[in-house]
């Protein structure tokens, strides 16, 4: 049996296609990102090693700070918007007696399955000068009409909103799945003890969703760090580079200025930021788990 399941040829045949494609089109590229970030590569000629020059240039580039600030704004806006709405909706809909639950779920989830370019193009039509939103204000008789994506201070918030609008349903579905896995007895017990519905959700649902919230946080925070598509389609990084992110810096440096080394340095910083965020979130949540374990142990001892 051991020989049967240890058939060397079969193993090789089984793992080779996946490994070959992964190494060629995913693993080697990420290694190249880091390796070439230390060179003056221009995409055509042989790269020369330039040490930390790209990184030093990057850290003194004003756009680098704008980019990081934008990523932070983007991450905070989408995290707060999505987690807040998704939690409220998921809890409200978890009430099995509510009418139209199925319809609401579909309504929230449909933007998730659309292409990000369709969503961006749609919102660019809504937000444009003669677009739907300004028309609405006009009809309402308000002079709130403005160029939503043309203001260098507001544009990033508007862009983040478009992303949050599209992906709210995703976190909603995650939290709905999380709530489903909580046994109904818990709520029964809470009600018998005279606990109100709202309090029961605060004390039972939300703490038990810690694991789900961890995923949500990782997805939306790294989503903010990786933000690129919305900028690319809605504003093109403008006005005046005010909606740049690190990925957009890389895109701009490489495909507009052929300064690949510099662009890849920006990409490397982006990847490292993502890793750090994941580590920190995992650390924070692990801490909580451990605390809970300790708490449990203590209670057992006291009982």
């Amino acid at each position: 049996m051991k020989k049967y399941m240890g058939n060397k040829l079969a193993i090789l045949l089984f793992i080779l296609p996946a490994l070959a494609i992964f190494i060629t089109f995913d693993f080697i590229p990420i290694i190249q990102v880091f390796a070439y970030s230390f060179t003056d590569w221009n995409g055509l000629t042989m790269p020369n090693f330039t040490g930390l020059k790209n990184y030093l240039d990057l850290f003194t580039d004003r756009v680098f700070f704008t980019s990081n600030r934008n990523q932070l704004i983007f991450a905070i806006v989408i995290t707060v918007y999505q987690m807040l709405f998704a939690t409220v909706f998921a809890i409200t809909i978890s009430d099995k007696k509510m009418n139209g639950r199925k319809f609401l779920r579909v309504a929230y989830f449909i933007p998730v399955i659309l292409s990000v370019t369709v969503v961006c193009q749609l919102w660019s039509a809504i937000l444009s000068g003669e677009g739907l939103l300004n028309k609405l204000f006009e009809v309402a008789g308000s002079d709130f009409k403005q160029n939503w994506l043309g203001d260098r201070y507001k544009a990033i918030y508007v862009i983040a909103f478009v992303n949050a609008w599209q992906w709210m349903g995703y976190q909603f579905a995650l939290i709905v799945a999380g709530i489903k896995s909580i046994p109904a007895d818990y709520y029964e017990a809470a009600r018998i003890d005279g606990c109100s519905n709202v309090k029961a959700h605060m004390k039972i649902t939300i703490p038990l969703l810690a694991e789900t919230y961890k995923f949500c946080l990782i997805i939306s925070l790294t989503g903010g760090i990786k933000a690129f598509t919305e900028m690319n389609i809605l504003t093109g990084g403008g006005p005046n580079k005010s909606t740049f992110t690190l990925t957009y810096m890389m895109y701009n440096a490489a495909f507009k200025k052929s300064d690949y080394g510099y662009g890849l340095a920006a990409a490397s910083v982006m990847v490292i930021e993502c890793m750090l965020v994941m580590l920190v979130i995992n650390f924070i949540f692990r801490d909580k788990d451990q605390k809970k374990e300790e708490e449990k142990a203590r209670r057992k001892r006291n009982a």
Partner: protein
Amino acid sequence: MHKEGKKTALHHIFVIFCWIYAAFSLYPLIWMLFYSFKTNQEIFVTNPFGFPWPLHYENYITAWTKYDVPLYFLNSLLVSIGTVTITIICALLFSYATSRMVWKMKTFTRLFLGLGMFIPVQAIMIPVVKVVQKFGLMGTRWSLIFPYIAINLAFACMVYYGFFKGIPMELEEAACMDGATIYQTFFMIIEPLVRPATVTLVIYIFLNAWNEFILANVVVGSIPALKTLPLGVLFFQGEFTTDWGGMGATMVIASFPAIIVYSIFSEQVESAMTIGGAVKG
């Protein structure tokens, strides 16, 4: 029999809020559907919000005949199908070897491929273009299919690994006793057992590939004959005297397959999409 607790005022406010947000979530899409049937005059002046009447279905004819939509559609379809098929095959084989077969480096190999979960597509777009050029794939649909397979593999393998782990070892023992080769065992006994995972992954990878923009933009963005629908939609960008009706029609056509898939398999789509979140991190 349990008595339903009294609904608080707060609960009613939440319910109303749910419905308002649903309208907010759907209306932009309905507006898109509506304006795909309108003329520019109607969109901007006479009827910006409401139901289109008469229906200007000629927008769809324009989109289909003038804006290369059939070509983009075909490209998207071929790329998506190619990606799904090859990813599923590779992931099935790889996960089987790393979960059930016996060899030394299997944990290391599995974790190595799992690194793919942490590689952002945004970061690798420049080297991917170079690799694709090096292999002479530029100008073919493989230039998209191979990178798409690579970015979906780690996730697919992780899902399959979980499923394979849950199958009892006795199945292979019995098959071995009966004289089946390892290949027969895999394809005739084990593979059918993980069909539910395959369905989920097919939906997930298909939607991913159908909607992918970041790599498509840099790999085939400048090759009109290979553009996929997400790129085709951007054709209208920056053209000020744009044909809005035609753009709306293109966007509706681009979203149609995803919406069809979702309306048939809504439960599976939701679980397929959210399983992605549950594995990340």
